[in-house]
């Protein structure tokens, strides 16, 4: 188990220009997993993204993003750098997308926890958090990373469920 405060601290230490929608996205993924409508036909376009990503050892392969320790962001650049297999990655992603986790109610609790942490850490102004909260008060939309975050970090990852990769990743990640 990893505390949300620790997860956020790591994110702010390792990534630049994090906006509030990036945190929302992180919490959303942390709670709901990848939640994509992935089918085998997605393999092609996901591979295209994979092929474009430049291998690099600049960051960790795995970012743990869930306090329950069951959801990871698997960063493609270091994965490629260490010789990861793209078909295997797709398979993990595909399998992960079939695992239903998290509820909207749980997401709201997670968001409340984030707000409490934010009060202490002052990652964002309260006003900003409240305005954003109004946007997500009735529905939880799928959001992209903020422009600034994308520019600064070039995020390229797959959301994977721990269950699907633990056995495979022992050698490559840790």
């Amino acid at each position: 188990m990893k505390k949300l405060s620790k997860i956020l601290e790591e994110q702010f230490n390792n990534y630049a220009d994090i906006e509030i929608q990036d945190i929302y996205k992180l919490l959303y993924q942390s709670n709901f997993g990848c939640e994509h409508a992935v089918d085998q036909n997605s393999r092609h376009w996901l591979h295209q993204e994979y092929d474009k990503t430049v291998p690099s050892n600049g960051r960790k392969i795995i970012d743990i993003i869930s306090p329950k320790d069951n959801i990871y962001r698997l960063n493609i650049a270091p994965y490629k750098f260490k010789g990861g297999d793209k078909d295997k990655l797709f398979d993990w992603f595909y399998s992960s997308s079939k695992i239903n986790i998290g509820t909207q109610y749980e997401f709201r609790l997670l968001w409340d926890e984030f707000k409490m942490i934010n009060q202490k850490e002052k990652y964002f102004e309260d006003k900003k958090v409240l305005s954003f909260e109004k946007i997500i008060r009735y529905h939880l939309p799928i959001m992209h990373h903020s422009y600034n975050y994308r520019q600064a970090n070039e995020p390229s990852y797959r959301i994977v469920n721990r269950l699907t990769i633990d056995t495979y990743m022992q050698n490559i990640c840790f």
Partner: protein
Amino acid sequence: MEKGFLTQKLFIPVYLNSKGMKLKEYQGKEIFHDNGIKIPDSFLITSPEQIKELKGEVVLKAQVLHGGRGKAGLIQTATQEDAKQKAEEMFKKDVKEILVEEKVDVKEEYYLSITIDRTEKKAMLMFSKEGGIDIEELAEKHPKKIKKYYLDEEFSPKKTAKELEIPQWLIEKLYEIFKKYDLELIEINPLVKVDDNLLALDSKIIVDDNALFRQKFEKDESLTDIEKKAKEAGLSYVELEGNIGIIGNGAGLVMSTLDMVNHYGGKVANFLDVGGGADKEKMEKSLELVMIKKPKGIFINIFGGITRCDDIAQGLIDYKKEHNIEIPVVIRMIGTNEEEAKKILEENQIHFINSMEEGAKKIVELVK
């Protein structure tokens, strides 16, 4: 076995997958009180100074929505001597309200709730003689200790009350509240016995998100006047501080639009999501709302699916003419009837842009 009575059947209560609005404990208790369910004497404070003379020992209960209040020190017993100090400590933990409640001598604790069983698509009453516990944990470890009844045509409040040894009116009242307030969950945990009276010592209420438009709860209090007007019109609007009005469809797309305008140095005046299937009227209403803040320019970003781009374009033109709008308007639309929309806009000298990025850049230039 009596019909409608379940013992160990697996169920998925709807609130576990809820996006509904959870009420704070005191709000739930107000509902209980208004509907004749007894609650302990209590009052709500927003600062420690509001604690005056106490009749006896009290419980200070932080009014926050997350669980684990006890472990976090957000529920504490207090006396006249230390109540203010303890309240002060709680307020330091980002607590805005504390319910100061008389401490009651509890004889017995029960669990009572009504929720919806998603799999059966029925309301379901749950009761346990072991109250004050985590019901999910109890359901997992000792499922037989929870009695469940579907509230269908075969349900008998009289028989159930007799079997559970609780008053029939309580069951009926709880169900009445459940329906009246469009709830996904109403839970009294614990329901306690004090001097032969039943008191609701805590409340957990989740209102169905789809019914919020007709249920009035605190949620509206944080809304500005424009936001309230938008809500009444079925539009999702958030007032911000800049001078560029934004209209789009889909929260994700609108958020990206805000982001892009900010990136090019613009300051957005609002977030407005017209939602799916927006038509000419919705577009006109959106413009009306956005114009209240007198923005220097408007950027409209629409992805046409069910929403027809030509409807949006026509709504814009009609509103612009009728209200003599002279500020710059940039519009980016793709999707259903895009070409027709483009034609309407070009005939009326409106900036039509193909990409969101270009649109954001353009509107920022125009308002400078």
